[in-house]
Amino acid sequence: MIEHKDGKTILTTPISAEDIRDIHIGDIVYLTGSLTTCRDVAHRRVVEEGKSIPVDVRNNAILHAGPIIRPLGDDKFEMVSVGPTTSMRMEKFEYDFVKATGVRVIIGKGGMRENTQRACKELGAIHCVFPAGNAVVAAVSVEEIVQAQWQDLGMPETLWNCRVKEFGPLIVSIDSEGRNYFEEKKVEYNRKKDEQVELISRQVGFIK
């Protein structure tokens, strides 16, 4: 479901392909509902070993992250600190991962590339960036850790299935049309960099 409240765009799980159709790169959204941490080895298990993911992420969201968790006993846990990790590490798996799991929103740090763009366009998904370094803002948006699966992978890699409220800000970096914010920005950055190198070089001829 998508709603606009107090100037915020909020995606609430379950999220349909229709819900995200009008969301574009550079937009800011917030997430309410089911968010599961999922990173390197979990992607590998789903894609390379063909294992079925033990948390249902279909029409829900995943977060590329390795959190700090405090066990409360009785299979209950508290989110102490959580921040996104570099999404690019999951790039080689993401098309097949989205196809296998039906995940709708992928959240991480930095951009992703062609493989994820293809997944977003063909399968109706988006990739968003949570501003890194803001681990406490992220942690306090987690209302409850609902379940923990694949705990054999250790704290960072466990699938921590969380119920979150207005988790964000999430900046859309790949939209369901396959447009890629970072790739478009990089062209601009590199052009400006070349201009600046030339400009500065004219003023630092100290060796004469």
Partner: protein, 299 residues
Amino acid sequence: MSVEVQAQRMREMMAKFIACTGKKLPDDITAKLRELRDKEDSPLAKTIYDTMFRNQELAVKLDRPSCQDTGVLQFWVKCGTGFPLINELEALLKEAVVQATFDAPLRHNSVETFDEYNTGKNVGKGTPTVWWDIIPYSDQCEIYTYMAGGGCTLPGNAMVLMPGEGYEGVTRFVLDRMTSYGLNACPPLLVGVGVATSVETAALLSKKALMRPVGSHNDNERAAKMEKLLEDGINAIGLGPQGMGGRYSVLGVHIENTARHPSAIGVAVNVGCWSHRRGHIIFDKDLNYKILSHSEVTL
């Protein structure tokens, strides 16, 4: 007071100081972030800055590390030959890191190389890093602390240029790194540049440059001019907060330099992320301390 008791006292103070630097940014960084936030005009950049300030407030209020990556601890010590704990210093700093790791808590960020296991204590062979400057005829000890996170360690690079490449080559070397790796290192960045005679001299200077307060300048007029040119140039690239676009890309550019061999220009770049967790503390011979980085902190 026996040396053992004194060492324990200093260890406890350092453990508290380290934990504190993971929760609260130094005054100069906070002031610069506030300045950049006020100068950005796009809603996207403003939203990101607002999130940063909310995060830092929550970190203090809830007493939690502000970023989940509390880095590898690095210390640059300027220790007087007459400082009473000069012999104990390196060991007590290591113990202070272990203590802070459990108290703060800090993430376990020390993986032994080759054996490839996480020590689970946040210390290992050669970590925390300690760089020594020995100060003759002094009985005080000045310590810079730094949490080197993974994201902002990654852009680090050093090489030796041929003199023909000149300072134009230095410029290209630094700016190329900003658009390839800097983008993902959590801008606005503090950029440290070492210009020296070889890779290791330049590399160490590029890290030490990050310990200088934001707004300070190199004593050499040309080096200071180049700091300003690089700062304006990287800002003009428009990386903005988180590399997502904005009017400013850096907190500052600091150059540190030495003389060089006529045939070589050693150059290195190191960056600090927006969450630049640097501390600066001075102890006298009686362990009275003065904190220069965080005005409101007492141990």
